[in-house]
Symmetry: D3
Subunit: 276 residues, 6 copies
Amino acid sequence: MADDISRFLEEDIGDGDITTNAVIGDQKAVGAVKAGSACTVAGLAEAEEVFSDMGLRVKILAKDGSTVEPGTVVMRVEGSAKAMLTSERLALNFIMLMSGIATATDTLVKRARAVNPNIRIAGTRKTTPGFRRYEKKAIILGGGDPHRFRLDDQILIKDNHLKMVGSVTEAVRRAKRFSFSKKVEVEAETLAQAEEAAKAGADSILLDNMSPEKVAEAYSIIKAVHSHITVEVSGGIRPENIAQYAKNADVISVGYITHSAPAADFSMDIEEARGQ
Amino acid sequence: MADDISRFLEEDIGDGDITTNAVIGDQKAVGAVKAGSACTVAGLAEAEEVFSDMGLRVKILAKDGSTVEPGTVVMRVEGSAKAMLTSERLALNFIMLMSGIATATDTLVKRARAVNPNIRIAGTRKTTPGFRRYEKKAIILGGGDPHRFRLDDQILIKDNHLKMVGSVTEAVRRAKRFSFSKKVEVEAETLAQAEEAAKAGADSILLDNMSPEKVAEAYSIIKAVHSHITVEVSGGIRPENIAQYAKNADVISVGYITHSAPAADFSMDIEEARGQ
Amino acid sequence: MADDISRFLEEDIGDGDITTNAVIGDQKAVGAVKAGSACTVAGLAEAEEVFSDMGLRVKILAKDGSTVEPGTVVMRVEGSAKAMLTSERLALNFIMLMSGIATATDTLVKRARAVNPNIRIAGTRKTTPGFRRYEKKAIILGGGDPHRFRLDDQILIKDNHLKMVGSVTEAVRRAKRFSFSKKVEVEAETLAQAEEAAKAGADSILLDNMSPEKVAEAYSIIKAVHSHITVEVSGGIRPENIAQYAKNADVISVGYITHSAPAADFSMDIEEARGQ
Amino acid sequence: MADDISRFLEEDIGDGDITTNAVIGDQKAVGAVKAGSACTVAGLAEAEEVFSDMGLRVKILAKDGSTVEPGTVVMRVEGSAKAMLTSERLALNFIMLMSGIATATDTLVKRARAVNPNIRIAGTRKTTPGFRRYEKKAIILGGGDPHRFRLDDQILIKDNHLKMVGSVTEAVRRAKRFSFSKKVEVEAETLAQAEEAAKAGADSILLDNMSPEKVAEAYSIIKAVHSHITVEVSGGIRPENIAQYAKNADVISVGYITHSAPAADFSMDIEEARGQ
Amino acid sequence: MADDISRFLEEDIGDGDITTNAVIGDQKAVGAVKAGSACTVAGLAEAEEVFSDMGLRVKILAKDGSTVEPGTVVMRVEGSAKAMLTSERLALNFIMLMSGIATATDTLVKRARAVNPNIRIAGTRKTTPGFRRYEKKAIILGGGDPHRFRLDDQILIKDNHLKMVGSVTEAVRRAKRFSFSKKVEVEAETLAQAEEAAKAGADSILLDNMSPEKVAEAYSIIKAVHSHITVEVSGGIRPENIAQYAKNADVISVGYITHSAPAADFSMDIEEARGQ
Amino acid sequence: MADDISRFLEEDIGDGDITTNAVIGDQKAVGAVKAGSACTVAGLAEAEEVFSDMGLRVKILAKDGSTVEPGTVVMRVEGSAKAMLTSERLALNFIMLMSGIATATDTLVKRARAVNPNIRIAGTRKTTPGFRRYEKKAIILGGGDPHRFRLDDQILIKDNHLKMVGSVTEAVRRAKRFSFSKKVEVEAETLAQAEEAAKAGADSILLDNMSPEKVAEAYSIIKAVHSHITVEVSGGIRPENIAQYAKNADVISVGYITHSAPAADFSMDIEEARGQ
């Protein structure tokens, strides 16, 4: 993380915060990071690291992953006013973006678990290049499952792979020969594909872009082959319709929590420290 | 950009795309990147670089910055099926995220220019750490102005700076002494501050969180001091209310186009190349 | 790989091959890389990249993974004598070390498959820091399975983990809750542990440091719980005793093929190119 | 070293030790690194740095370069169980591989010094790419001399150089003109070459692949020209025959101590820390 | 800065200070850095960082930017003799080179301000590749202005740009459209160009290679258009003639203070620490 | 070199050449790099690489190391006007600084060789941090010898080392024990030290800060011990007095050619390419 943060600081600062260098002296300051709206907060650990790297003392006042109300002060920072003003933006960007993701995830988790308490809500690889580890962490803080961080995490045979191979059974056979230590998941767009994948020995099956009814049917077919096969459902699932899918799935994966969740609103008020 | 892309590929791929390595042979393929919804497209140059770095031939079929309809094929890729499947996600992530930003910017630009044809819509530094240059580029492709990339681009004295210095006039004086080659902008929350900044010699004044009426008043006061001072307006401006602000501003800056714009929808269909 | 190779060249060359720079002019040369002993050759692709990066033309005359006799010329290189002499050592180091590993692996694979044609011989993480990807590749070229490249590849609960958790069942439960996309393997030192792990839902069980008889017994116990559980055997297995273990294992993993396999013998003869 | 270690940790860990993260809590532990066989131990300093970088407290109980018996605990580590389990493998890989090299070197040094107390045993550049500095250090800990780390350390004119230049005398002349601060060594395969190199002003002469008798003859010829010329002997020298060479050499260099020495056996036992 | 310093140390040290490693034991030492000639000292902060990174204790005895007499001890260092000898050269190189620049700048500042107390002396981008930030800092310590660090700091339309565009007015128009946050400066070689640039709205005008008389005339013309336009003068200005230019300029920029200023003379005396 | 150049370009350009981006279109241009004063030219290879990396075609019209007259066009560049303007400064900085060093070296070489045709003029480690390899190369192009690039090149026992060890003989003994492949040089400030070093077996002796007469005396004493010992002379030697030292030295080393040589004068004229 330290490497990332120094790279991110450099991206934001360049050769120096010329405003702060020009107008601020050696004053000490106290800064308060405050939520502007209700949200599941995330990114506090990252913001703390940003400020600590700048030599500031940080007190975290809310737990990453907890829910906060508008106006809540989630962090207090103390030390050089220059350092604080120079690093404020990066710290806030971490909190705003990660809290946005955590909040969107939390909403889905709550709606889905109301129907199926054992279900997992998972992310996808539709993340911002270079920022995935923080977006995946925000999903976890929102109660979700990160799913694959990288293409070497698990074998997941998708429609484009199947078009190339021609046969679900052959694709699964190749995958199982390739490695004994990785799980094999197959994306199925039809009931027939789902059944074929289950029989070929897939560890998990991803039902993509099916209606809730079709998902229910596929779920029964798969579990009949082997009760231990994991059933994942994906494609156009939003808070509005997640309850319809949740009963017949072990995992629901959703791209929009990383690529389209609006940021949460946070700001920092800085005041000169008195009597120090 | 080359450095970023190899870093981003590594983030997504890790030690290898084990699915593709396990199930795909040395086939050739053709891939088509298609828009799923109407948008201002961006990120095609980045996607092209991704695919080219993987040894694929790319034909771009839509211009970055142009508007595309749902179903439009914006890019066609040809070459090794393995390379294509391995790099598909990163290429799509560039296009989806950058097109989302370009689309949100374009909407604002059109609404504001209907009222004031000379106005600029600008971004902020509320961007994803490590991905700013692409987000700023997407703003430009959407017709906007990137504003500061980094803290060394321009002097911008904000409320937190003013709290430390105590006086607008003194802050401007320090800023102008610091550098003869950088513009000095001052954030004003009141009419008095705006006027003081103008008289102190600020090159630009940022009116923050004012009502449209107050902006109109501030605009007159500032331009009366010096007609060449740039007036920027910011704070809670969205497509719904931008027309009310646009008449009395040279620049309107908006954070949500980078931190909260939903991604555009793009996918890639890959088919085996025949007759090659 | 390109990054590694430039780093490795720098390690070997420093600020320049002062011998070559001092005594060699702009001559052209032809170099032949020759095996000094029979072996399963590996590292030719890496050696080719080394020489190509130096601007030399390379013809590979043996296939990585094939068996070669003493005296076989496996590669011919052509171009600047300076470039060839400067990069010779790194190219040879790749071939010598990787061929040593491939040869040791191949020997084990042949002996084990004589008994059990479906068995896999796998490596471990007992590799040279910084060189693992090449050592794992050499295992694959020798007919083996790389096993985990990294600690995030698969969950493998070892004796030290079990000491901390206290219970096999609880450890497996935690592991399965942690991730739905990773396999869970448990190291068992007793029959009771093996059975407990199988019943708790482990995907694979590693029998560590057991006699062939005990392995046979454990194998039956595990397969009785679930026929699909993978049985891996490890601990002091060498060419001499591998046949005794091979019948009752799906995978045999061996550390010495990476940490103690002697290098194969290769050298390069360089001659001035005439008539060019 | 710090850079290497963080790179090596990343190679081994990837995005996280998922086993440890899944099953271990915030327990404290004590770990003991134990030798499995008699050896000259090396790599303790590197292992200490690995563990320290992970925030663990380390007590080293044997001196790098000393001889240890089977069962000796060479290091004790204390702190977070998670950190210990995550970094155990890299620390052990350093100790196992470096101790293997130190042990092989020590054996040669002892046998050669029994005959010639002033002789040096030196390594070669036949090392693992990226790990040379640790392999050279292990040679030194085993009582040997590292010889060239890199091609810019010393001029060493080998057979391939001589084929290009055509004349020993001319090669030495060019080398001495090139630099006044580097020693010039010449590899000789015949007595005539050895004598020519000595007369041309070489600082050292490397007798390659000669029988012990021929080495004795060459040694006399060289020392007759200048008593201060260093005589190095190389080529197929092993513990079995080193005594025959040792009398007529200032330095004996041996490739197998880095490329083929078997690793020493070390393991780590971790137990939960009580009463802390 | 930390990154630079470790890179610079590596450049100077390579694989180790073999002299110090060979001949020095674990002694403690005290070192005194002394000026050999009168100068404006700079680089002490960098030298301190070098020594601190090596684990040494540093006491700075002169202020960066102050004037020192020959023989002045500007810094005292204490700790490991090995560390001190290994890092001495880099620390001295910082001080010698930066003090040379600060001294040359200070001389110009004093001569110019005798004529015009408000004038700024600025550097150029004629700096040593990779060392610019330190050279610019030395200019500031000598009382000067750094001018552009990089091409993205400010728009500066030079003769080569004007040749391409064809018209000063058009070039300024394009520049102002490009960005609202950057100043626009134009290089003028004639009075007509200067006037055209002023009228087109340039923020600053650089008079290049004009005689003092022509500068005076241009200055009047420009200030008549707008009193707030900054007038910069450049081209062949040295201590001998700066007074002639200083009256009619806001800024004088000079390349030789970075590319041709002789280094100041500093050395370090190291003595064994007694009684510690 | 490629790494350096992309780092140097980034230092100069930052996020983009905003002037060129703002005012220049897709024109083609031709640029001519011209000498402003007579000098020994160097840095053309580096400038060529800079321009080539930007996609420009380069024709080199003078040989690095040759002498050029004022007005000589040393290089012609062709291609995108944008690329040319963006990279012009870095290319010129290489040529100006390296030619300054080559010119200063050449002057010394000519004066010293008039007296002693076999003498070498050598540089020191008093170079600009991060730019040493280019400064050393410029010395070589000026006819000089680079001397140590790094502290691991050769053992050079200086006054500060001797203060720590206490005895010249003991220091040489330790140095020779440390390594058989590195030369050992000793800095002597008195005749007695010079003689002691020679007798102790030093390969070279550096006479520091002695008068020409004392150098002559030391030279005789040293050569009487061993005619093959290299005598290097250093300390305050300039073009004015070098002839007095040159007769009694094998090498004269001079710091000012890197730390204080004024840059040579070069500029680039760019014109729009017609008829292409």
